[in-house]
């Protein structure tokens, strides 16, 4: 593995990643503007894969655009939309386009997205896809057929540190590590004490975890977020936003405080600004 992210994962430095949503359509100007705002401040930019089962510009094409601008993309790959033939083929495609960082996820179910009537695929689960990617590295595909040239990947997976029972999530992490994951990004965390307990419980796994932080911009936004899969926003954070004169400013403060705390205990952070990436430089500055 040679990617910049991979090298950084081997160091003991605090790793910062953020995510961008590809546009619904082909106008990439705004996306590239956002990338310019954060590209040099982060160690990797996740590009979501039809997140929340909405149909968008593809993650792979978007990653390539970021790569051409000199940024470090992380290709998100969901198991929801493709079978094992297409998934493996896209992994090979990613590699030849210079994309080595891949975050493998199961993907939000389409019944909660814009395409309720679509056929969900889930031919492989995320653990199986991780293993498939490592199999490709070994020079054969899942069918055991020899490859003409094999790829190399820096593979990540996700875990939800706020889910209950947490033992089940940790078991998943263990399986994902055995299948090939070398880093984890998480659903948003809001409670540093809860996260520290999670860290303690995962210490033995000896892996890198970048906990997610999210920019809560308004009370309305919190309402929408609370309806999304795997999101557990504690009351304390909700109250701070609701009582604030300037909710966005308060959201930036909460985010920066969280990162400041994480700098003391975590391997890194994964910032989800959801359309407000222009505030990431300010958040990072305040978090120092």
């Amino acid at each position: 593995m040679t990617s910049k992210l991979c090298q950084k994962l081997k160091s003991n430095e605090f790793i910062i990643t953020a995510e961008l949503f590809p546009p619904k359509g082909v106008d990439v100007e705004d996306l590239l503007r956002r990338a310019d705002l954060i590209g040099s401040l982060v160690d990797g930019i996740n590009v979501t894969d039809n997140q929340r089962a909405s149909m968008r510009l593809g993650s792979l094409a978007t990653c390539r655009l970021l790569k051409e601008k000199g940024y470090e993309p992380i290709l998100q790959m969901a198991c929801r939309d493709r079978n094992r033939i297409a998934l493996q083929s896209d992994l090979l495609s990613a590699y030849v386009l210079g994309i080595e960082n891949v975050l493998i996820i199961s993907g939000d179910h389409n019944s909660i997205g814009e395409y309720k009537d679509a056929k969900p695929v889930y031919d492989l689960d995320s653990t199986q896809l991780l293993k498939a990617a490592r199999t490709l590295e070994s020079g054969v595909d899942m069918a055991g057929k020899k490859l003409k040239g094999s790829p190399r990947f820096c593979l990540g997976a996700v875990v939800n540190p706020t889910a209950d029972p947490i033992e089940l999530q940790i078991m998943m992490m263990e399986k994902k590590i055995n299948a090939g994951a070398v880093f984890f990004q998480t659903q948003p965390v809001y409670d540093i004490e809860q996260y520290k307990i999670f860290l303690e419980k995962t210490k033995h796994l000896n892996t890198k975890i970048m906990p997610g932080v999210i920019l809560l911009k308004s009370a309305q936004f919190i309402k929408i977020m609370a309806g999304l899969p795997g999101v557990n926003i504690p009351k304390a954070a909700v109250e701070r936003i609701e009582k604030a004169k300037d909710p966005l400013k308060e959201g930036i403060n909460i985010c920066a405080e969280m990162i400041r705390e994480l700098r003391k205990c975590a391997d890194g952070v994964h910032i989800m600004a959801i359309g407000l990436e222009e505030y990431i430089p300010e958040i990072l500055e305040k978090s120092k």
Partner: protein, 214 residues
Amino acid sequence: MIITTSKPFSEILSNIKSYKRIFVVGCAACAAKCQTGGEEQVKNMIEELKKENKEVTGFIVLDTPCDMRIVKKDLAKLPEVKRSEALLVLACGGGVQAIEKIVDKPLLPALDPVFVGSIERIGVYNEFCSICGQCIIDSTGGICPVARCAKSLMNGPCGGAVNGKCEVDPELDCAWVLIYNKLNKINKKENIFKVFMEPRKHSKPKKLDNSRKL
């Protein structure tokens, strides 16, 4: 059991609009249990058809319309069937298609098959099995993640569950939390938590592949 729901009557009417003489077939097995294709539903259907000025040539509730032998014995030779223009069948697709092999008449399904269900009580059916052809529930505490996890995940839950409920429906239990709790209860956690579950085989067992003969 095959769980079925009744098609909206407007859809049935639209499907039969070019036929006048209709024969009605019910199912005394699954569809009767579901109260979608038993004698009572067949009789109600006949009343509705009459209101629409259709001539009902006759009816029968077959024991198992999915069994071609029964279709041959009890349905095929009925003179009422012969003088009908079409058959309206209150059974699942297995029933309609068994009849298709025997009777050369237009066949109109009156039900939509939904899933293989376990009955809790009338009207409450659980989709516990997706008849995937490769049963693995020995290692998952008797709870099938293929059928009961919305994403059919084999190696554990996704991150989408909140408070033990599935991301697709807050009423629905996360299958993996159920499996976890069950395996904990029976002290068999190592069954699944340490084992990598291979990708499913979507091909059917070989002897069923072509002719689907057992």
